[in-house]
Amino acid sequence: MFQALANPQRFMDFSRWAAPILGIIAVILVAMGLWLTFTVPEDYQQGDTVRIMFIHVPAAYMAMFCYACLGGASFMGLVFRHSLADAAGRACAPLGAGFTFLALVTGSLWGRPMWGTWWVWDARMTSVLVLLLLYIGYMALQAAIDDEVKAARAASILALVGLINLPIIKFSVDWWNTLHQPASVFRAGGPTMPPDYLWPLALMAIGYMALFGSLWMVRVRSEVWRKRANGLALQAAG
């Protein structure tokens, strides 16, 4: 599938239909998920605030999934020197940063009523914050180099360095956290999740995924168009 889609023209033909279809699927799934989010019975411990979970948890999951996609695109871009892979990496980063930001903000809003504070330096939150910084670094590097091909390649190297470092950062932050505050109190969430909660969570997760896929394709398409427009402008000028 990758090989077939590596041809820009074939990708454009495919994504022309796939992007809107995925977008519609995303809207339906997220709408159903949101409806369930507001209708499920409230948690016996957390009350209404449990509804934040259905926005928050899938976003946190997407934050990591997007980085994996970014790493994959960067690897392809470096190894096969394919312009579409470069465009895919470039298009992926702001989406991933957006999901990461959403996860942090909703987590903070959830933390206020639950833990009584907007932010704690808990292992997970800290490593997600570092993840956001990695995304921002990727975008900053991409923006700081004028030559597009060089910018894409430098950013790809950074993405791979980050990919190797992410597990180390995660481990070190976990380790740091256990050193500071063993037996986190925040884990008193309750028993395993009832199906009432599992359904909206799954719908939202798949919906986010479809949304990401759709937006990703739209962004790659606009990259391809931008490059074509640049080419035409050069032709007209020269």
Binding site: V130, R153, L158, V161, G162, I168, S172, V173, W176
Partner: protein, 221 residues
Amino acid sequence: MNGFWVMLRREMAMAWGRGGGPLLALTFFVATATLLPLAVGASPARLAAVAPGSAWLALALASLLSLERLFERDYEDGTLDLLALGPVPLEAVAFAKGLAQWLTNGAPLALAAPVVAVALGADLRLVPLIFISALIGGLGLAFTGGIGAALSLGSKRGGVLIAVLVLPLFAPPVIFGAGAIEAFAGGLDWHPALGLLSAYGLAAAALGPFAMAAACRNALS
């Protein structure tokens, strides 16, 4: 191998010779530490609690300083082009640069770290561990930082960009370095933290040059 030693000697000479060498980083280190009591208050109890950690924070910031010139200088005057064509692989050149950065920048900072920490009120028993952890941690900071320096070649805003790229990657060494000191101060076993810190430094020294060389080739292409 001979070429590598020549490179290392050259890098050391450049790092010592230009612009005051490590003195600038040392001054920055001390200046950052000076601001700490001004910011959090001079009460000895409060300062002593944060002294080792602050020393590590200042260390991480100070090690950023000379990174900007690590590759930029050679890139601007064309030396890097020649090095890329020369018989010594670019990976070895990058390794020599990282090593020189560690020896001329990390090592002096490691010597200053215990002094700064004690001045801030850290216990005297901590001095050897602060020195050792700063020295070992400096290896990781130098090579991770070198990746950022090589990646930002040819960009318009070197210094700030390097800091943005590199500071998130500094999280593990800071955690392990400050963690070892804190564990020792708290009477806990500090060996695992120091071991992990060494592992991070060695892994950075082993893998970093490949990323640096790839980034240099990309900037030169």
